[in-house]
Symmetry: C2
Subunit: 306 residues, 2 copies
């Protein structure tokens, strides 16, 4: 196992994924854990890291450690201040926060911040590493990472120029769980592709009227046009359609979109983008590993870790 060059972790709020990487960034071994930062008690991040990666650390005393994600937030191990956009792998590498680990080079990747045309700030943490790993270092690209807070990132020649968060996932949960819309819904129903597509179309047609159109998830149920089992997929489509329609209205984009994230959500976004007439490609599932590798390289951490 002398080939290990980097121990990287994508450490989020509710889970983490750790990678042992060898020459060229090849993933020698990957493992997941439910020890997200909110599940690490009393700030014992050092113990949690040892629990997940202890054997790798013992076997590879010279491999540097690089952590990305919410582990670098105020609630994490060590706060890594946001790096301002535009930011490429080099800028992120220069902003790494050194982490004190005995006899080990260890760092935390900063999140990114940007300010939009209206002067309002936005932030991401963890997604920047996936983007750096997934997006080719040349050309103009749009990466979309669906989730609780979806991120849209505009990348040019490997540099994240700007990005925007959309609270789509969290608002879906709040609407179904805590408004009148949830009352008619059968939340355990399987995904309904046709209801989803209907919602996408209605939301995308007039995203500026979302506060009104969302009420259709009640009236279509009351009038018997959609079954209680179809309503969750319909509302999901309505919100995702509003997200995509609204984002494209503000920042038009004609080319392909790179989708990064979990498979089920990516499938829904692929369908919704298709309704908008936009082709998508799925980024590699372990693009966080590729991003950690690229950032480690830009930081000069890979030179002497053989």
């Amino acid at each position: 196992m002398s080939g290990a060059r980097l121990i990287g972790v994508d450490w989020g709020t509710s889970s983490l994924r750790a990678y042992l990487m060898g020459a060229g960034g090849a993933v020698i071994e990957a493992r997941g854990s439910a020890l997200g930062i909110m599940r690490v008690e009393g700030g014992r991040f050092s113990s949690a890291f040892e629990e997940v990666c202890g054997d790798w650390l013992a076997e590879h005393p010279h491999a540097p450690v690089l952590l990305a994600g919410m582990i670098g937030s105020k609630q994490g191990w060590l706060e890594a201040p946001y790096c301002a956009c535009p930011a490429d792998a080099g800028a992120i590498a220069r902003a790494l926060a050194p982490l004190h680990l005995p006899a080990r080079r260890a760092h935390i990747v900063p999140g990114l911040s940007c300010v939009n045309a209206a002067g309002v700030p936005d932030i991401m943490r963890g997604e920047e590493t996936q983007i750096i790993g997934a997006i080719a270092p040349a050309g103009a690209h749009l990466a979309v990472l669906p989730g609780t807070h979806s991120k849209w990132a505009w990348v040019h020649d490997g540099s994240v120029r700007s990005f925007a968060s959309f609270m789509t996932g969290e608002i879906y949960a709040a609407l179904t769980g805590h408004t009148i819309l949830g009352r008619l819904m059968q939340m355990e129903a399987p995904y309904d592709a046709s209801a989803f597509a209907r919602g996408v179309g209605y939301g995308m047609e007039a995203p500026q009227a979302l506060l009104s159109r969302v009420f259709s998830a009640r009236t279509l149920g009351l009038f018997g046009e959609l079954a209680d089992t179809a309503l969750p997929s319909y509302l999901s489509g309505l919100l995702i359609g509003s997200e995509i329609g609204g984002a494209l209205a503000v920042s038009p984009h004609a080319g392909e979109v790179t989708l990064l994230g979990n498979a089920a959500l990516m499938q829904r976004y692929t369908e919704a983008f298709a309704i908008a007439g936009i082709a998508t490609r799925a980024g590699a599932p372990d693009c966080a590993a590729a991003g950690l590798w690229r950032i480690a390289g830009a930081a000069g951490l890979l030179a002497d870790s053989a």
Copy 2:
């Protein structure tokens, strides 16, 4: 007390307001009660009505009774099927649901339904009576009723041509109570006019990006640009600005807007409409009484009740 011509009740979900009306619709006496339909146990609406209006009923054996609002819903005393738009006082009067009360002419006002250009239905119940009472029977008018579910109604020559619901109030409650946005907020803080105006401007500028812009209620707090005490007013403004901006984008309107509803919300909408460059006038506080009177007249209920 022989002058009483009508006993009218605007009976909502969480409260009710009852009116004893004399010649010309003059309100002889008005009283409120917390006996909204959700607080009437076991469907004992008859007892609740007796509790609130029993003395009026005894003193005015010939005065007809007219009830409006959620009392006519499936969860109410008797379901009064929706009357389809366009609908004026005459159409609503023809759709009254007769209610059996001993030795008394009694009816429930139906709610309204409409279908928008996309073929999607919308509904209101109770607001139609306020609109009929507040809007002059000639000319083109736009009435806006802020609330849990705001209603926008386009009225022409006394007829509600179409309307749209906006879930603004309920979404505000869900966002502050059940998403990350509420975590930074001091919910008990007094109204902050400047933060409200900032939110209105940001929401109104790009209502199609609401799912994204709403995240600013977190980032502006995180970056110290808005105090925790300012964030509730800011988010309220952002949502109301998105409602107004989105509604006007879909259905442009240059004339005055009539606002109907509770005073605190009307003040916020007045400010938000002013930012949009649109003048408002406040409808009379007891326009529900005027609407009940006008509908009763159209139904021929006032002819012999002296």
